[in-house]
């Protein structure tokens, strides 16, 4: 397998840029994804996530910089690279002229596998994705979650060295989403390298070993999800709703209790304190100042806080 030539670095991007006309959507990013890890690209819609994915499988050639996939430059090695890729795209690109089994068998042919070779594997994949009894179903008879699982099954047909999942659970209901996560975790156990783009923080936290946070075509930070949360947002967050003069109170509280927090952020009339110490102590202090608080919430920090702090905006626009 050509895929074994690379030395553990499955994706390597250096100074990668992409321009569409005048608009630069990927603005000089560096990425390194190692063999066997699940690597996440977290960012809002329009951050440039899908563009990176398209550059990997050749739908969008880089404007400048280098992009190596499985040790091969994406310019000029598309076919060789794609032999070792599995792609689950954002929209379901299932073949609705074909039934479930045919979708997998016809796809296997694109990788040069005859139905006699692929059929046992097709059955195995459908079982893995909980679709065994759907072999002859038409695509339009499947629910959104089933379709997505079928897309994932299809992307595994060539036993890929790199599985690309572009927003794998966007548009699914919470139950279907959880089921997809469960299946992706079982794929992860097989040590397949995964590149996952998402704007769901929970998804990134659950699945990714390492991730980058992207906004507006650049990478803001990189690391293990728990490490990133701790680094930027500490252990806990105190969220306050302020009835009046939010800026004044932000400055006031920051000045008085600076040592109890790693920083603060004001979004509308909501004030977020990223805590060093005990949140309850700070909350008592704030109440003793007669701060005009409409609500308060003391909770563990999460990736949303990291994103909010790094970009000043909310990530999950859908929910």
């Amino acid at each position: 397998m050509a895929g074994k030539m690379f030395n553990r670095e499955v994706i390597c991007a250096r100074g990668l840029r992409k321009k569409y006309g005048d608009k630069e959507v990927v603005r000089g990013i560096n990425l390194s994804v190692s063999k066997g890890e699940c690597f996440g690209i977290l960012g809002p819609n329009g951050a440039g996530k899908t563009t990176i994915v398209k550059m990997i499988f050749g739908l969008s050639p880089p404007t400048s910089g280098t992009l190596l996939v499985l040790g091969m430059n994406v310019n000029g090695n598309q076919r060789e690279i794609k032999k070792h890729l599995g792609v689950v795209s954002q929209e379901d690109h299932l073949d609705s002229d074909l039934n479930v089994g045919e979708n997998l068998e016809v796809f296997a042919r694109y990788y040069g596998m005859r139905p006699a070779e692929s059929r046992p594997y097709v059955k195995q994949l459908l079982e893995l994705m909980g679709l065994s009894d759907r072999y002859r179903s038409k695509i339009h008879e499947l629910s959104g979650g089933m379709r997505r699982r079928l897309s994932i099954a299809r992307s595994l047909i060539n036993n890929p060295d790199l599985l690309i999942l572009d927003e794998p659970t966007t548009g699914l209901d919470p139950h279907a989403r959880r089921l997809v996560w469960q299946m992706l975790r079982s794929i992860k156990e097989k040590q397949i390298t995964m590149l996952l783009t998402t704007h769901y923080l929970e998804e990134a936290s659950i699945l990714c070993d390492r991730l980058v946070i992207m906004d507006d075509g650049i990478i803001l930070d990189e690391g293990n999800p728990r490490f990133l949360v701790k680094k930027h947002a500490g252990e806990e967050v105190l969220e306050l709703g302020l009835r009046e003069k939010p800026e004044f109170w932000q400055n006031e509280i920051s000045a008085r209790f600076g040592d109890m927090q790693k920083g603060s952020l004001l979004l509308g009339d909501s004030l977020y304190f990223y805590l060093n110490g005990d949140g309850k102590v700070l909350l008592n202090e704030i109440n003793s100042l007669a701060t005009p608080v409409s609500y308060h919430l003391l909770r563990p920090s999460n990736l949303e806080d990291v994103f909010l702090k790094l970009t000043g905006k909310k990530l999950e626009t859908e929910s």
Binding site: G58, S60, L98, V106, Y111
Partner: protein, 265 residues
């Protein structure tokens, strides 16, 4: 030497036998629906043949030594093949490209976009051959085949099918939406259907119409089919064949390049 930034390098074709798998994918779908599509692809030309050949034919004396029905039947055969291919490579290809995103899915596999387009063109040519040949069989049973040369008609239909598929794919690769296909049919396919010597010899038309006919693939395919079916073999038919081959050669790259420009950005 071709520089890596040049147009020729950028659009060098990426073709292998994998295009065959795209053709095969279309065949799997075809096997499910061919019978229900027969109405449009086969019954409609048959109605033309009967209405014009028998109805109008009563009032028309012989043309070039043939009864009117004999005269028009090879042309209707050739045009029915054209219609079948043109619908396949416009509406159906566009649905695969833009609606179902079948192309997007396939292009993430080792199959190249060039091979997808080639696969669709090959399938368009197959449809030309298939529906044209069914018509040929009917003509045989109606007793309108006068020469064993008619056995070569399917080969001609493959060649003309390639040309119509290429032309349709060019339109498909630049059309922003499906509404624009009616322009392709109204401005291009229907005039060809009417003025390619199917219903009347173009020798009596104004000279510019005759000249124009030489630049349309249907005219040549009608001429060759008529020669083969009636057995009135004119050496000029070699010229018609050569023109069809030239069309196919000239139109080889444009659909590949245009589809890449559409999809790979």
């Amino acid at each position: 030497m071709i520089g890596k930034t040049s147009f020729l390098y950028k659009y060098r074709p990426e073709l292998s036998m994998l295009f065959w798998e795209v053709f095969r994918r279309n065949m799997i779908v075809f096997n499910k629906y061919w019978f229900s599509n027969i109405m449009f692809n086969f019954l409609e030309p048959l109605l033309y043949l009967l209405a014009l050949g028998i109805g109008l034919g009563l009032y028309i004396p012989e043309i070039e030594g043939l009864s009117y029905l004999e005269f028009i039947s090879p042309g209707i055969l050739a045009s029915s093949a054209m219609w079948a291919t043109s619908f396949e490579c416009t509406y159906n290809s566009f649905i695969r490209l833009q609606v179902q995103k079948t192309y997007h899915a396939i292009v993430s596999t080792p199959v190249s976009l060039d091979e997808i387009v080639m696969g669709d063109i090959a399938f368009g040519a197959f449809k030309s051959m298939f529906y044209g040949s069914i018509f040929l069989v009917v003509l045989f049973f109606l007793g309108y085949i006068s020469s064993p040369l008619a056995l070569l008609v399917p080969v001609v239909l493959i060649l003309s099918g390639v040309v119509f598929a290429q032309l349709s794919m060019i339109w498909t690769s630049v059309a922003p939406n499906m509404e624009l296909f009616s322009y392709y049919f109204t401005l291009f396919i229907t005039p060809m259907f009417l003025f390619s010597g199917i219903f009347f010899p173009i020798e009596n038309m104004p000279i510019f119409v005759q000249r124009l006919a030489w630049f349309t693939p249907l005219f040549h395919s009608v001429q060759i089919c008529r020669g083969l079916i009636t057995g009135q073999f004119d050496p000029l038919l070699w010229a018609n064949l050569l023109v069809l081959i030239l069309f196919a050669a000239i139109l080889f790259f444009p659909p590949l390049i245009l589809m890449r420009r559409r999809l790979i950005k």
